[in-house]
């Protein structure tokens, strides 16, 4: 197995309308690390995640996943390694039934029927949603949609998992089972979220970004207890550290 390294070198990105979303981002995530990305609204978290598999291409700088540098040619290869769970599950679930949706990725990988069915079964039971398999997504609750969206990415068995606000639509119990699930995922993962308690629970390392630059990068336990740093970035101490 190649090493699941994510390396951003001086990555900048400007949207067509001129907004500079990322300005010289640098970080390196090594195999098996789990990293939280936090920051104020509009700091560039989602833009950053979309660079992980070439949905967006850096205006300057390089993104390296494993031993591949992200270019138009390597995008397809990289997409097999990096699974991204987007923020809005309605955008992620585009097929008419849950089963079809989870099977979409494996089928595109060219797997045979038996293994596709097996993958789908495995991915759906991982998020406790096997019963939903024949339902159309518009009959699901938002929590169920999120769970299925995660399963649809897990079914690709990615080496690196990237998630954008995974717990936003979840009730506390589903959020707890998501945390357990994320902890059991042994590969590298990168999670952008405002849910600082989730980051604290799941990620050993935390990156704070502001206006498209990295302002802090270190162990979650240190960063998420630094009240001044957090408040400068429109954040606050995780609830578990707040004393009333």
């Amino acid at each position: 197995m190649s090493h699941h390294i994510v390396d951003f070198k001086n990555v900048s990105f400007r949207y067509p309308d001129g907004t500079e979303a990322l300005r010289g981002i640098n970080f390196r995530i090594t195999h098996g690390e789990s990293v939280g990305v936090v920051g104020a609204n509009g700091a560039g978290k989602s833009t950053l995640l979309q660079h992980m598999n070439g949905c967006l291409m850096p205006t300057s700088g390089t993104v390296t996943i494993g031993d591949l540098t992200l270019t138009g040619k390597t995008r397809r290869e990289i997409r097999k390694k990096v699974g991204i769970v987007f923020q809005n599950p309605d955008d992620q679930l585009f097929m008419p039934t849950v089963f079809d949706d989870v099977a979409f990725g494996p089928l595109n990988l060219g797997m045979d029927e038996e293994s596709v069915r097996e993958r789908v079964r495995k991915a759906l039971s991982m998020v406790h949603s096997l019963d939903l398999r024949d339902k159309p997504p518009h009959h699901l609750s938002s929590g169920q949609k999120s769970a299925v969206a995660i399963a649809s990415v897990m079914a690709m068995e990615p080496d690196i998992l990237a998630m954008d606000e995974p717990a936003a639509n979840l009730d506390p119990k589903s959020r707890r089972s998501l945390i357990t699930l994320l902890k059991s995922f042994r590969h590298s993962k990168i999670i952008a979220s405002h849910d600082l308690d989730l980051i604290l629970d799941v990620c050993q390392r935390c990156i704070v970004i502001r206006d498209g630059t990295v302002v802090a990068d270190g162990p979650s336990a240190e960063i998420l207890t630094n009240r001044t740093l957090l408040e400068e970035n429109n954040l606050e101490l995780p609830l578990s550290f707040q004393r009333r």
């Binding site: 997409r79 987007f86 309605d90 585009f94 990725g105 089928l107 595109n108 997504p137 990415v153």
Partner: protein, 269 residues
């Protein structure tokens, strides 16, 4: 109550397709082919034809009975879309006034006949199409079309229509609700605001389309929506198609109803 349940009730249509009857279990491709042939046969009749169309009701009625689809549900849907057909035909009686038949002393104009013919054809075709979806499910029909060789682009459009129609409608409803909440009983500053809302809805849709496309690319999309082979053409499917084709052929090319009418007249004469 969501938008879907209130206006279209596609959810109900979906649930009808989960049933387990021998119509539901036929291969979707067999049903798609049979329904297409049925539609073509029905609309191939000349514009004054009324009597020969009657036996064709046998096809939807049989599907409905064997497939255990509630008649009222299908009728209701047919009535909901009927204004289209009525407006197409409504001027025929005014434009085409030549008398073509006299039934028990009352002259019947060609316009009324062709109007009636349009309504009959409409009822037949719409109910057949609804029954196809109610017994096969919309995605089932899409998969069948793909496997029958329809272009991938066309089939993916159908998939997305089904998946995102309600997402889009609900988005529109939310925007209208937000406008109403702040327009305090006045009709929301009228058409100007409404036009802008539509513009914003369009922009949001474009954004959403882009996000969906990214999500598809992220999972290896290469231009065709893949599907598992769920079913195989069995003897029952071939028998169903053969029966449909012979039924359609016999009633299209031989004037059975007229024949029966003659025989009955002969009995009483």
């Amino acid at each position: 109550m969501t938008f879907d349940e209130k206006y279209f009730d596609i959810g109900r249509l979906d649930r009808l397709s989960y049933r387990d009857t021998c119509v539901h279990n036929l291969d979707p491709r067999a049903k798609v082919i049979a329904t297409m042939l049925f539609l073509i046969t029905v609309i191939s009749f000349p514009k004054y034809e009324v009597v020969a169309l009657a036996p064709f009701f046998l096809f939807p009625v049989l599907l409905m009975t064997i497939g255990e689809i509630p008649v009222r549900f299908i009728l209701k849907k047919v009535i909901v879309v009927s204004p289209f057909a009525i407006f197409i035909g409504i001027f025929n009686p005014l434009l085409d006034t030549g008398t073509v038949a006299v039934i028990s002393g009352v002259p019947v104009s060609g316009g009324w006949l062709s109007f009636l013919s349009i309504i009959l054809k409409f009822t037949l075709t719409i109910s057949a199409a609804l029954l196809l979806i109610a017994t096969t499910s919309f995605p089932g029909v899409c998969h069948a079309l793909r496997r029958l060789g329809f272009p991938p682009l066309f089939v993916s459009q159908l998939f997305f229509l089904y998946r995102y129609l309600f997402v889009l409608m609900e988005e529109a409803m939310r925007m209208i609700r937000a406008r109403d909440m702040r327009s305090f009983g006045t009709p929301g500053a009228g058409i100007k605001v409404f036009v802008r809302l539509i513009g914003i809805l369009f922009l949001r849709t474009v954004d959403r389309a882009e996000r969906i496309y990214y999500a598809m690319l992220s999972r290896g999309f290469q231009g065709d929506i893949p599907s598992l082979k769920r079913s195989r053409m069995a003897a029952a499917d071939l028998a169903f198609m053969a029966a449909t084709i012979s039924f359609l052929g016999v009633f299209r090319f031989f004037r059975i109803t007229e024949g029966i009418g003659r025989v009955v007249q002969g009995l009483f004469a």
